[in-house]
Every structure is written in structure tokens, then in C-alpha cells.
């Protein structure tokens, strides 16, 4: 649990983001402290993906400020570069490189972006493959793995960059039900290890288990931000209550 004096590692201040005329984020503010686990939920189109994609520069916000570990993201090449290496990301669609083996997928970042020697990178990759419990798949191509295995490879690929923050954008939404747990287990373990995480997910069981803070978004705004106990039992806003009704009793 982050205490009062914990160091903020992500500071999002009054951030707005437009796609053309459409405003996807409206004055969003959110602080995340070192080691904190934040779970973001909300209806489709509410801006959850946009928010976390702004944090690692996949989208450019137009106003407000985002600071990651002391660096302000101003979309200069320098700030983007120093923020990218600190932030890992896992996508709903895995986005593994289909022409590379699992091991090659993992080794690419460390060798090219972190300047590691091939052998060291391979050791590192093997370690993380063990951590996501698929060391035996190292030499297969992504197409030959199950969805759950692919997503665990994607997590390992992100971890190989040894980021201080991990972003998850609905990591289990594209998975068959029987594979969701194997991915959530890996994520839970990562949370236990002290990683700072922001997860967009509607897996309430996971959220209750690991979240330090729950965030509910609707129509580009953060409507509710609370600790999980309060969030799931007595949320302040009606919109949030309606949404929870839907996802808890579907």
C-alpha cells in the first residue's frame, strides 16, 4: 500500500486529447505513486485506452501535462525516448512480431534499444519466459501458441526492457475464457513483486485482489477514483454504480 509520502511516478495533470473535433480526454488528472497498482474501467469509448496510450507517447495529448518519473512528456524526441524505456505496455491484441520466434521477440528490445550483448539478452529472456511459465516455447513462432501463451510472451517481452511502469490495455479481452486465468496469474504475480501497474480491465476479481486504486472513466472523464473497498461497495457517482451493476451481474 502506498503511504502518504510515497513518491509519485506518474503525474497526469488536466490532460485533454482531441481526435479532430472529438474530445477523447477531458481535463483528466491522475497521480500514480511508485509501486501502486491502478485498475481503470469504464464503458467502451470512454477514453481508457487513450489515457494510458498518452502515458507512453503512443498518442499525443494537446493540453495539460504528463510527467513520468520526473520527465515531462513534451513530445520532443528526447523526452519521448527517456519515457519509452521506463514504460512497458501490453496490448489486447498481443502485437507479437509474427516473423520472429518467441525468443527473438524477447531479445530484440534489449539488444537493439538497451545495447545488451546477445548472450546476456538471451539469458534475460529465458529468465522472463520462466517467470511467465513458458520456457519450453522459446523457439516457436507466435502463430503456433495459444492466445494465453501469446499474451504471456507479450508480457515477458515488455518485462525484458526492465521497465519501472507497466501498462495493460485489456490484456484478457481477446482471450478465450479458459486462458484468462493464466494471464491474470502472471499479472498478479507481477503486482506482488512491486511493479507499478496501470491496468485497463473489467476483470473485477483481479481488480479486488491487486488494485490499490480503482478508476472509473466515462465520456473522457475520470468520474470516480477510490480504493477498491469503497469503489465496489459504495461508489459516489450514479454512473459508476450503473456500470458496476452491469459488469458484476452479466
Amino acid at each position: 500500500m502506498p503511504s502518504g509520502g510515497a513518491r509519485p511516478i506518474i503525474q497526469i495533470d488536466n490532460v485533454s486529447k482531441h481526435f479532430g473535433d472529438f474530445q477523447a480526454l477531458k481535463d483528466v488528472s491522475l497521480d500514480v505513486t511508485l509501486g501502486e497498482r491502478v485498475v481503470v474501467c469504464g464503458p467502451s469509448g470512454s477514453g481508457k485506452s487513450t489515457l494510458i496510450r498518452c502515458i507512453n507517447g503512443l498518442e499525443q495529448h494537446q493540453s495539460g501535462s504528463i510527467r513520468v518519473d520526473g520527465v515531462t512528456l513534451d513530445h520532443s524526441a528526447g523526452s519521448l525516448k527517456s519515457i519509452k524505456v521506463k514504460v512497458g505496455m501490453v496490448f489486447q491484441q498481443f502485437n507479437l512480431f509474427p516473423h520472429l520466434t518467441v525468443l527473438e521477440n524477447l531479445v530484440l528490445g534489449p539488444t537493439r534499444a538497451r545495447g545488451m550483448a546477445k548472450a546476456d539478452a538471451r539469458d534475460l529472456a529465458t529468465r522472463y519466459l520462466e517467470r511467465v511459465r513458458i520456457p519450453e516455447q522459446a523457439n516457436k513462432y507466435p502463430a503456433n501458441l495459444s492466445g494465453g501463451q501469446q499474451q504471456r510472451v507479450a508480457i515477458a517481452r515488455a518485462l525484458c526492457m526492465e521497465p519501472s511502469i507497466m501498462l495493460f490495455d485489456e490484456p484478457t479481452s481477446a482471450l478465450d475464457p479458459e486462458m484468462i486465468n493464466e494471464v491474470l496469474e502472471v499479472m498478479t504475480e507481477l503486482a506482488t513483486s512491486g511493479m507499478t501497474m496501470i491496468c485497463v480491465t473489467h476483470e473485477t476479481g483481479f481488480a479486488r485482489r491487486v488494485a490499490d486504486k480503482m478508476v472509473f472513466m466515462d465520456q473522457g472523464e475520470i468520474v470516480e477514483a477510490a480504493d477498491p473497498d469503497k469503489f465496489f461497495t459504495a461508489p459516489d457517482s450514479q454512473r459508476c454504480r450503473d456500470f458496476l451493476d452491469k459488469i458484476l451481474h452479466h
Binding site: 503512443l58 505496455m89 496490448f91 509474427p98 516473423h99 534499444a113
Partner: protein, 246 residues
């Protein structure tokens, strides 16, 4: 289809054994026929060397031209469009003449027949290669760029290790077509005196005056060469298959 063509030519040759065809000009059993045949076949060397050199340049050049075509900046895209439209509009033969006879006056230096041919063929092919690469690169999913971004790859590494390997796999059949096209178009370089297949045939026709037989051999030379290349490209495609699909 290919088998059918081969059969058709075989029967044409057989038919030619009777009547007033003069196959003696290229009959390998006679000394002069053997020399003539050897003379014709010796053109293979430059046809292949010229085509392969030219396509190597045009692939690299086409790639360089394709990249600004993918940029968000409209002026960069404009450069790409301008080049492609301009080069595509010039007939290859005209380009060959311009490079060989015209360019030396412009630049004040003379280039050999071989390099003039390479430059002309590579230039004209590069516009097509650029379009092929642009389509191939655009067909790669946006998620691949985003994944590369999240593991901090820079633009060059993203292209080299993530996007191009996937794009090239997809455009391999089209690149194969271009190589076939290049082998055929290299025959045009005969007009400036390049000693390739077509030039050799023309020279033999002048001395032997048996155009029917000599040009039939010439057709067969291109046919066999291109069938081999096609088979090679298909083999390469198969070899690169297994890991496709996302």
C-alpha cells in the same frame, strides 16, 4: 500452363525438323552449328548479370523512394509521387537511349554500355519497386509499430527488424514478377550494343541469315531462363511461409 508451353515449343521444333527449316545453323553435331549455339548461349552471361545488378539497385532505390511515400508530411509524400509518376511515364527504351547517348553530354563523362543499361533499367524499375514496397509496408498492422515503440526501437530498427521483414514476405511474388520483367526488358539494352542474348541473336542472324531458327532459339532461351526464375521465386516463397499469420 508452363508444361503446355514447353510442349507447344517442342512440337514446333519437331515440326521444324522436316520442311524448309534450316536447323543446321545451330546443330551441335556440326562444328559451325556448335559454335553458333555457343555464341547464342554466351549472351546469357550479360542478360543475367545485367538484370540481377539492375534489380539489386532498383530494389534498394525503390525502398528509399517508398519511405517518404509513407510519411505524414505531405511534401515528403509529394517527392515520392513526383518521382514515381515521372519515371513511370518514360518508356524504358527511351530511357536507355537517354542515359547512354544523352547523359554523357550532360555530365561530361561517358559510361560503358553495361552501366548505362544498369542505370536505365534500375531507374525505370525503381518506380515500380517503390509502389510495391509502399503497398507492402502499408499492409503491416499498426500494432506492429506500436509494439516496436513500446520496446523503444528507433525508426531505423523498427523498419529493419519489424516492418520490412514482414512487408518483404508479402511482396515477394510481386518482386519475382519484377525480376521476370527485368530479364525481358534487358533485351532492349541490345540497341546500344550490350552483348546479351538478343544482341547475340541479332548478330548471328546478320551473318547466317536464318532468323527463324535463331530467333526461335532466342525465345527458348528466355523461356527456360524465366521458368527457372519463377520456380526459384516460388521456392523462396514456400521457404518463408511457415511463420506467417498473426
Amino acid at each position: 500452363m508452363n508444361k503446355f508451353l514447353v510442349a507447344a515449343f517442342a512440337s514446333l521444333l519437331l515440326a521444324g525438323c522436316s520442311g524448309n527449316w534450316g536447323w543446321y545453323v545451330v546443330n551441335p553435331m556440326t562444328d559451325s552449328g556448335f559454335l553458333n549455339l555457343k555464341f547464342l548461349l554466351s549472351g546469357l552471361y550479360y542478360t543475367i548479370l545485367l538484370s540481377v545488378t539492375a534489380i539489386s539497385f532498383s530494389i534498394v532505390f525503390g525502398l528509399v523512394i517508398a519511405l517518404p511515400g509513407l510519411a505524414r508530411n505531405r511534401y515528403l509524400r509529394g517527392i515520392n509521387r513526383f518521382y514515381v509518376e515521372l519515371v513511370r511515364a518514360v518508356p524504358i527504351l527511351v530511357l536507355i537511349l537517354w542515359v547512354y547517348y544523352g547523359m554523357p553530354q550532360l555530365a561530361g563523362l561517358s559510361i560503358g554500355v553495361f552501366w548505362a543499361g544498369v542505370i536505365a533499367l534500375a531507374l525505370s524499375d525503381s518506380a515500380f519497386e517503390a509502389e510495391i514496397f509502399r503497398a507492402g509496408i502499408q499492409s503491416v498492422d499498426r500494432g506492429q509499430y506500436e509494439a516496436a515503440h513500446t520496446i523503444s526501437l528507433n525508426y531505423a530498427d523498427t523498419m529493419r527488424f519489424v516492418i520490412l521483414p514482414q512487408a518483404i514476405r508479402r511482396v515477394l511474388p510481386a518482386l519475382g514478377n519484377q525480376l521476370v520483367y527485368m530479364l525481358k526488358m534487358s533485351s532492349l539494352v541490345s540497341v546500344i550494343g550490350m552483348q546479351e542474348l538478343t544482341r547475340k541473336a541479332n548478330e548471328l542472324v546478320v551473318t547466317e541469315y536464318r532468323p527463324l531458327e535463331v530467333y526461335t532459339i532466342l525465345v527458348l532461351e528466355y523461356l527456360v531462363l524465366i521458368l527457372i526464375v519463377s520456380a526459384g521465386v516460388r521456392w523462396l516463397e514456400r521457404r518463408m511461409q511457415p511463420d506467417q499469420r498473426t
